[in-house]
Amino acid sequence: MSFINLALSLALIGVAVAVAPILDTVDRKLRARLHSRIGPPTLLQTWYDIAKLLGKEIVVSEGGSAVVVPLFMTVASALLALSALPPGVPSPLAPLDLLYLIMFSAAAHASFILVAVSSGNVYAVIGGFREFVLVSVNEVAFVLGLTAVALSTGVLSFSGAAYYGDFRPIPYIVSFALLSICLYVSSARIPFDLGEAEPELASGVLIELSGPLLAIGIISVLLKRFLSASITAAAIALPIMRYIGAYGLSGFSLLLALTITVWIIHSLIAASLGRSRVEVAVKTLISLYIPLTLLAYTLLLFGV
């Protein structure tokens, strides 16, 4: 049993690494279609891009060597956070999976910002600063949303909820709404790609990176996106697992299918919107988060 658990959890991580770049190509392809363009010729395009970057020489810019550690920390934290999700079986991190999830995803964002700041580049600092403002607001809401989701299942663990959760539909839907917005924001897509917005005089993390380091930077961005999509997917999958009994491999495929769906919805939204400005974004988000949080917790409190 525990062997299968471990195997499927590892499989999820493996699939994330393999699939995230392909999903990115899907993203690009979809965007191209909305732009009336042909777009990348194959689904493996992002992989080819990454492979090409990996084949280049490593150039570390002056003062930029500090970026390496946080860069790998971002990748590692994103992967660890993924292992907190229930891929059809209890996560190896259950019953503390939610705690780990919060911890590692926060670590992924934090180290991402650290990459920006430690690169010492003025554009990266601007980008990192914008990212920091956004992430600090968003992480709070994320924790509140995730907890609210868990509370409305009656179990403070995703893995647990999939097996013996007792879902209260209305609070669940409200807290899911809150959570999914947070997760869209943390996927760093338009309108919230503030840290990486080159035409806006910010260039976040990637500006000082090139070659293999840039490849890892891209992978870390994609993994963070995959994480956001799969947490959203997990929150949708939980009641299905619980009431239809989709466990094991079918649960795994359910989670994956939902992740892909969420990813595509995310890219559809991103393709149709413009970029926000940091203070506008924060204001908009706060004005969304506060009422949703209040609503979710009131509902929970009054036992609807």
């Binding site: 009336s36 003025v122 601007i126 005089l201 919107l273 413009g274 400005r277």
Partner: protein
């Protein structure tokens, strides 16, 4: 009072006692006033402040081969009369020529005075000066636009690069010379407090190409310069080529067939279509809305193909020659043109509607980069920038040229002066251009398109202005033997860059690129001239709490 003076236009009467001589030039479209050096400042003041003329540009000329000295021409325009006024100042000194500076009275003359100082060594007295156009390692004693400097002259390469001025400026975000938000090599320095821009510094001339000198060189003739003029700008090249040939034709009294004038006007409007749609796309891109970018350019592509169909080339049409155009618009082509125009109008409507309906885009265009009417007028801004700030200025109406007197169209004017107004002005102009082209096609007279029988007398003048997509493009020309004696170009962006300062101050940093882009800057055009903000003294005072350190002023 002699008879000639009686004819001095009413508006210029107050100058009568200050000028020595005057005459009509440029087929009666302009007046040239001979002014003594000591009266120059006074004449400029009255013209600018009392008569209310706009300043266009000034040009220094090495006239030693003609009569032994230098000369400076200050060019003003009185919009309401459609009249250009050229002040001609003779400078007798051969060695250290100077003129009094008029900057105090006419701030817009700031840059071109510095340019003739660099290029001809004519010293504008009574103002702060600094080298601007020429690179730092250019030898001090070589004044490139003087006639005795060969056009192919290349100074020895400097071995050492100049240290960056990092120490002088405590804080700022360097933007450029190369930056993804800029499409041409330029350099902006934005001073910020947190995310708010408190001041701006600009440095251009990274792509100065010495075009004016080249046009005077023996390897060019009147016709060849047309192609050179077209290459001043990659977006509105036809504007420059038209302004140039019109200048030659007017100065040299060359007859131009009417049909050719219609074809030129038509192509100018095709160029405006492509330029405005290009801008719309870039604006959407800068606001992170790439779908708008791609779709605007998809519509624009139709105008590019149309241009190729009419001229043989997508850009740099190569259509103009002195005396007319090279390719006719045959009747078979008309239905296709009309079809493309329909598609462009419809496509633009949809795409523009799509772009401004995106909440982020709208929010970031509305109320950002505001240029108030007063500032706009004081800085003599031109084109859509002026029209979005409530100034009703359009050369096509104010100084009708080519076939524009025969068509009716509206000039969109907005009063808000923000980025959204500038966007809407351009979008509306797309529809107006479509209408203009239709009218031109409808009314195009039959006949020849090119007059090749001409002979141009040296020593004649012309000032031409053409409404480029970005505003007024002014050319000043003195004819010579076989080629222009002096040809001076002032691109529209030159007049609009100073407006960036009031627009950017107090803005969010993230909106700086769209605001810079909102004047639709064309740096390559501008850079054949000079641009800089010299009022730098305030900078260190304003930047009180530096939050971002400059790492390198690359």
């Amino acid at each position: 009072m002699n008879q000639h003076k009686d004819l001095l236009p009413q508006r210029l009467r107050p100058l009568e006692s200050l000028i020595q001589e005057w005459r009509w030039i440029d087929k009666g479209r302009a007046v040239m006033l001979d002014v003594k050096r000591d009266k120059l400042v006074e004449v400029a003041r009255i013209l600018y402040k009392e008569i209310g003329a706009f300043f266009k540009t000034c040009a220094g000329v090495d006239e030693r081969p003609l009569w032994g000295g230098f000369a400076v021409y200050h060019i003003f325009g009185i919009d309401e009369e459609g009249l250009d006024v050229v002040i001609y100042v003779k400078i007798p000194e051969k060695d250290h020529p100077w003129v009094p500076s008029i900057v105090r009275e006419v701030p817009a003359a700031d840059w071109c005075e510095l340019e003739f100082r660099d290029m001809l060594g004519i010293d504008p007295r009574g103002r702060l000066t600094q080298r601007l156009v020429l690179p730092d390692d250019w030898p001090e004693d070589v004044k490139p636009l003087r006639k005795d400097v060969p056009y192919g002259y290349r100074p020895p390469r400097a071995e050492e690069s100049r240290p960056v001025e990092a120490g002088m400026y405590p804080s700022g975000v360097p933007v450029g010379p190369y930056h993804p938000a800029l499409h041409e090599p330029e350099y902006f320095e934005l001073y910020v407090e947190g995310e708010e821009v408190v001041d701006v510094r600009y440095r251009g001339f990274h792509v100065h190409r010495g075009i004016e000198k080249l046009a005077e060189s023996p390897r060019f003739d009147y016709n060849k310069v047309t192609f050179l003029a077209e290459r001043i700008c990659g977006i509105c090249g036809f504007v420059h080529s038209c302004a140039y040939v019109m200048a030659v034709e007017r100065a040299g009294k060359v007859e131009v067939p009417e049909r050719a004038e219609y074809i030129r006007a038509l192509l100018l409007e095709v160029e405006r279509l492509h330029s405005h749609l290009l801008w719309l796309g870039v604006a959407a891109h800068l606001l992170g809305y790439d779908a708008g970018f791609m779709h605007a350019w998809r519509v624009r592509e139709k105008t590019m193909i149309l241009a190729e169909y009419l001229t043989g080339s997508r850009k740099t049409y190569g259509m103009n020659l002195v005396g007319g155009v090279r390719k006719d618009i045959t009747p078979e082509k008309v239905p296709k043109i009309l079809r493309v125009l329909e598609e462009v109008a419809e496509g633009t409507k949809k795409v523009a509607d799509m772009i401004v309906s995106v909440p982020q885009v709208r929010k970031r265009l509305e109320g950002t980069g505001v240029l108030r009417r007063g500032d706009a007028a004081a800085l003599s801004v031109v084109g859509p920038v002026a029209r979005a700030s409530g100034l009703n200025r359009d050369i096509r109406k104010d100084y009708p040229y080519l076939a524009y007197k025969d068509v009716s169209f509206m000039v969109p004017v907005y009063s808000e002066g923000d980025n959204l107004s500038r966007t809407l002005v351009r979008v509306e102009e797309v529809f107006e251009s479509v209408e203009i082209i239709k009218q031109l096609l409808d009314r195009m007279p039959p006949g020849d398109i090119l007059n090749e029988e001409w002979d141009i007398e040296p020593g004649k003048y012309a000032v031409t202005s053409v409404e480029a997509p970005r505003g007024e493009d002014t050319h000043f020309l003195i004819t010579g033997v076989g080629r222009p004696y002096r040809w001076r170009v002032r691109a529209p962006t030159y007049a609009n860059i100073p407006a960036l300062r009031p627009m950017l101050r107090g803005q969010e940093l993230a909106d700086a690129p769209i605001t810079i882009a909102s004047i639709d800057p064309c740096f390559s055009c501008t850079d054949r001239m000079l641009v800089i903000d010299v009022r730098t003294g305030k900078r260190s005072v304003l930047v009180t709490r530096p939050k971002v350190r400059v790492v390198s002023l690359g």
